[in-house]
Amino acid sequence: MSKIYTIADNIITSLGFTSKENFTLLMQGKSGISKTSDPKITQKPLQVSQVDSEKLNTEFEKLGNSKEYTRLEKLMILSIADALKQTNINTANNDTLFVFSSVKGNINLIEDENHPFENKRINLWAIADTVCNYFNSTTKPIFISNACISGVTAINTGAQYLKTGKFKHVIVCGGDIISEFTPSGFQSFKAVSENPCKPFDANRNGITLGEGVGTIILTTNDKLVNEENPVIFRGGSNTNDANHISGPSRTGDGLYYAIRNTLKESAKENTNIDYISGHGTATQYNDEMESKAISWAKLNHVPVNSLKAYWGHTLGAAGIIECIAGIHSIKENCLIKTLGYSEHGVSEPINVITEFKKTKVSNFLKTASGFGGSNAVAYFSELNAD
């Protein structure tokens, strides 16, 4: 079977407009989270990670008319355009598929009754149509809205399509914006932390939300691969806890099954796994459940981090930008510390990364869990790794 190569990527968050800008600041331990009292977003001061609006419009004006696109569409177009610059794919060809993920899409159009767009633009499929039109795509896009696991599901879905051979290249793009809608909802759940979130920590007190978009390009065409030892997608799985719509399983069974299935598909034993990029939202229940699933999979010793205290929980982008960070951890041979973590606060003795470390990294597991009881896992490794 053909290998699925990762050949290009982009991240846009509060930390920058490219993967490199973002990853450099992750290596330095810098967070993009800050406090806002913007009345369009929150009724009381809120810690949040936001993309610089002025820079977004300046950068977008180089590509198109800023007024014709919503905030999320601009972010997605910029992100895909930057990823495409790194490779040689013609998006107008029928061998290229677009897969999108977003939880709330153009939700700001529901909140702002005076928005200048046609009403149909509130639909998620309309975002896909708009972005695909920009890139002259001729294939029917796929759009996934699977709560907080959307990004990992989108990568797994794109990879499944490459395996069937129907397409040669898949452009996976996911993102969500910050408006009042999502923060107010999580606040009503009392799930938002007053301070920047503290994943896996004893004093964790909820999530910090973030805005962002990520793009990853996967291909089966090895001629497009520029590196000697590229990072490849090996396998992935989605499962459901079947326990509760807004709370994770108490035992971690759903996430454990997703890890087990992913390793099976990847033909990988649970030994010599170098790194787990966790979900680590810093809610009491999520982090506890994750520690149980990791322990159940006998991966306690594997270094694990959560990147949520750098760029917040970016919902539909999270799975994608965290996979991209994992790929860059392999390329730079380093492990990013879990910002916000100081005192171990989950019941299982998982190996939370506390300091930035240069070390050989050949592979990683990405895990995600979300509302609706969903879990998703993906496994990436260097081409020449077991």
Binding site: Q43, A242, S374
Partner: protein, 217 residues
């Protein structure tokens, strides 16, 4: 019957239902017709009673989840052998057009007026389209692949390709799949129980787009 085929079928639709305003069709037969032209809630409740569903959580669900849930109860009715499969081998893969926009709009009403600000977690949790899938999984203890795809229209070709691959690769043994869409009083659901074909019977319906498109015509 044009839907019969002599080819060996890998995956078959073992039961299906279509819910549209005032009409329920199960395996091609009109099961309930609502001559009183009831609104969504009353029509769903009549189906709930007809199938003797007993599930108090149903009454907490938003309309999209109610629709998908009721349709799933119908396709799983008298299919107890599904519950004997490994939970992680049973998937729920649905498509819709309007995501959770109906409930998004309702939730937005609770935060619009700053003088009358009452965001509710019970409403907010349904502002995610995949929660309808979660509800079906919780009810039946299904733990396999579960994804919500958003598409302007029902796409039988996509669903058969995607779910077919999950079955063919061995990730799933059975799957509830199809469409459930609700927006502002307008709704439609088409749910299919898809299983691996164990024995060739003349009434089997192959899980292929051309047959699905005939069933839902």
């Amino acid at each position: 019957m044009p839907i019969k085929t002599t080819n060996i079928m890998k995956n078959i639709i073992s039961k299906y239902c279509i819910i549209k305003p005032n009409e329920l069709i199960v395996d091609g037969k009109q099961e309930i017709i609502d001559t009183e032209n009831n609104k969504f809630g009353a029509f769903m409740k009549s189906i709930y009673k007809h199938y003797e569903v007993k599930y108090p959580k149903y009454f907490k669900m938003d309309n999209l989840s109610k629709l998908a849930f009721i349709a799933s109860e119908i396709v799983l009715n008298d299919k107890s052998h599904i519950n004997e499969l490994e939970p992680t081998k049973i998937g729920v893969i649905l498509q819709n057009s309007h995501s959770s926009i109906d409930t998004d709009t309702k939730y937005n009403e609770t935060i619009k007026d700053k003088e009358n600000y009452f965001p509710s977690p019970a409403v907010f949790v349904y502002t995610l389209p995949n929660v309808m899938i979660g509800e079906i999984c919780i009810r039946n203890k299904f733990q396999g692949e579960n994804t919500c795809f958003i598409s302007k229209e029902f796409d039988a070709e996509f669903i058969t390709e995607y779910v077919g691959e999950l079955l063919d690769s061995g990730k799933l043994e059975a799957c509830i799949t199809g469409w459930a869409d609700y927006i502002d009083g307008e709704y439609s659901a088409m749910l299919f129980l898809v299983e691996k074909n164990k024995e060739n019977k003349k009434d089997n319906i192959s899980f292929k787009p051309e047959f699905i498109n005939q069933l839902i015509k």
